[in-house]
């Protein structure tokens, strides 16, 4: 089955909204708040891309899905193809929606939604759903510049939504500890944004007594950094040495070498690939470990290490 882009709406210079329908015009599957789809499309040079995007708008029945895509200079390039080469009438492939960032049904609790930049996308459907269910919530929307606060008009039109923008260029960095406040039973926050923001939220939450299960993260974007250098990873238990090149995660290199490892999310969110570090200096890029855990180990799925040798007890 094919899908087609039916409309493109510009939100400032960097973000475009795409509307996607089935090519035969039939209705799309119902979706739930926080869901995402996977799009597959090709560039003019034939390169194939596969990218995940949160659905925006009010969840439920749908004849078309809406996504908002920020044009990224780095990364694998899918967003540039969508922005520069695709438009209304372009044919794409789609799978999903996937409900991997669900809004929990707990009506008595305090709910905070926290978005960093284009991380606003899954929060839109959550805000609609909370409003519809009559559950009070606050949406903190963090961006560097005011023009980066896309979809703000739509958010402000949601009934009973407390939308709190934080523009760091105007008022400095948001105080996350104060934003979260002390944890009370039943409190939950949902956060989506760059890994650095999510890490800072995890730390602020830990300071304020938030249990890890009450902090729900959806991360996106590449964790690799331009100055990452090749690593030599020694495994004390398997008695193996694995060379890892930038662009491949340590975990993927271990899996490829048939090392006995456990893992689940591959996004630094679950901690299942947590591995004790015997020697070396990890550069932590997960959003799930506490400082105490980081003293002993690391998530090999997203984290890297200072140049040289990294010795893992694996």
């Amino acid at each position: 089955m094919s899908y087609v882009i039916t409309a493109v709406i510009e939100h400032g210079a960097a973000v475009k909204e795409f509307h996607i329908c089935r090519a035969d015009g039939a209705p799309l599957p119902d979706w739930s708040p926080g869901s995402h789809i996977m799009l597959q499309f090709s560039g003019a040079d034939g390169t194939a891309y596969e990218s995940h995007y949160s659905l925006i708008g009010a969840a439920g029945k749908a004849d078309s899905y809406r996504i908002a895509v920020q044009r990224e200079e780095g990364g694998k390039g899918g967003s540039r193809i969508l922005h520069d080469e695709l438009g209304a009438g372009s044919v794409v492939q789609m799978s999903g929606p996937f409900d991997s960032f669900p809004l929990q049904a707990n009506e008595s609790s305090r709910v905070l939604l926290i978005a960093g930049g284009i991380g606003i996308t899954p929060m839109v459907s959550m805000a609609y759903a909370l409003s519809e269910q009559g559950r009070p919530f606050a949406l903190h929307y963090l961006a560097r510049q005011p023009e980066r606060l896309v979809l703000l008009d739509e958010l402000r039109a949601i009934p009973d939504a407390a939308i709190v923008p934080h523009v760091s260029q105007e008022s400095g960095r948001a105080d996350l500890v104060q934003m979260l406040g002390a944890y009370n039973e039943g409190d939950t926050f949902y956060a989506c944004g760059p890994a650095a923001l999510l890490q800072a939220l995890a730390e602020a939450g830990a300071q304020q007594g938030w249990p890890s299960g009450a902090m729900r993260f959806e991360s996106f974007g590449a964790r690799a950094q331009a100055d990452d250098e090749a690593l030599t990873v020694e495994l004390t238990l398997s008695q193996m040495t694995v060379e890892v090149q930038p662009g491949t995660s340590i975990l993927d290199a271990l899996i490829a070498a048939d090392v006995f490892v456990s893992y689940d999310c591959k996004r630094g969110e679950c901690g299942n690939c947590y591995t004790p570090v015997v020697a070396g200096q990890p550069r932590h890029r997960d959003v799930c470990l506490t400082p105490a855990m980081r003293e002993q180990g690391m998530c090999t799925c997203v984290s890297w290490a200072a140049p040289g040798k990294l010795v893992l007890e694996l």
């Binding site: 991997s100 299960g213 006995f260 456990s262 893992y263 689940d264 679950c270 105490a292």
Partner: protein
């Protein structure tokens, strides 16, 4: 890869209640029908395995067996052999009778010292005077969370018979083993996907006695597959094995489990899931381990949620 690309209705129901179906879909890809290459030498060097088995009445038991490293082998990854000759089997452990009647066997290879574990569900295809061989149905690595690190200092010689006691209410010594436990093993069963053996760990005190026949256990965030809870949804019979590392004893309990959702959890004892399960005991056996084991406790898992006394 596995021929198991879907979940049984019990697993699916629990995943839905927990809102974790999408994560389960993603995580089932780690399952395979053979032991991955990297885990084969791991199994061969283990001195301990957890077994989940079913007795003639359908009751589920969890057991721990020990042997010199090398006593378990998987060359091809399709079957695992366990070499425990007939005269070395401790008959006070129900597992030996159980597998003679019921071929489903859950196996967990867990190295407490390195927090590595590998889970295998299989079917007994040979049981003779030398040992047994299990054909693998599904196999997958599990995460290192909630495992307290302990290293085996010394594995003593086999001494049979062992002293054993049994009962049906949780009193005295049995109570104190439960109260002090930081490491337990749970077995469950499903008619189609077989028996399952799994680990649960926490800070001492994470097991609470509700009354003289009931233990309450928090359910921490896990891999979202819900193999154990999924089995309970269809067949609530469960087995627990609680080692007393200091005194060289094993407490094996069989009974039924029920999952409690959306429980009050002001101290965060579930790690945020608000799920507990209650285990109602029908029968317990308290045995000495057939080999004397000297353990050295290293440290607790940094993932353990707090315990409220």
């Amino acid at each position: 890869m596995s021929d198991r690309n879907s979940f049984h209705p019990g697993e699916r129901a629990v995943q839905q209640s927990a809102g974790e179906t999408a994560i389960a879909e993603r995580n089932i890809t780690v399952m395979s029908d053979t032991v991955i290459g990297g885990a084969r030498p791991f199994i061969a060097k283990q001195f301990m395995a957890v077994l989940g088995s079913i007795d003639a009445s359908g009751a589920v038991w969890a057991s721990l067996i020990f042997g010199k490293p090398g006593f378990m082998q998987t060359e091809t990854g399709a079957t695992i052999s366990v070499n425990v000759p007939d005269q070395e089997r401790d008959r006070t452990d129900p597992v030996w009778n159980n597998i003679a009647h019921h071929a489903d066997l859950g196996m967990l290879f867990i190295e407490l010292g390195s927090r590595r574990r590998y889970r295998v569900n299989g079917t007994l295809q040979r049981l003779d005077g030398q040992g047994l061989e299990v054909a693998i149905r599904e196999a997958y690595p599990n995460c290192p969370k909630y495992i307290q690190r302990r290293q085996l200092r010394r594995l003593g010689e086999l001494q049979l018979p062992v002293s054993a006691a049994s009962g049906s209410v949780l009193r005295g010594n049995v109570q104190s083993i439960i109260r002090q436990a930081d490491t337990i093993f749970v077995a469950s069963h499903h008619a189609e996907t077989g028996a399952d053996a799994s680990h649960r760990g926490g800070t001492p005190g994470f097991l609470k006695l509700v009354d003289e026949t009931t233990i309450r256990i928090p359910d921490f965030p896990g891999n979202s597959l819900f193999n154990t809870f999924g089995n309970f949804e269809i067949d609530p019979r469960a087995g627990l094995c609680i080692p007393d590392f200091a005194h060289g004893q094993l407490l094996q309990l069989t009974g039924t489990a029920s999952v409690k959702w959306e429980q009050d959890d002001p101290a965060g004892e579930t790690g945020g899931t608000k799920r507990f399960w209650e285990f109602k005991v029908d029968q317990w056996i308290l045995r000495d381990t057939p080999q004397k084991l000297e353990w050295e406790y290293l440290d607790a898992s940094p993932f353990n949620p707090p315990v409220q006394s």
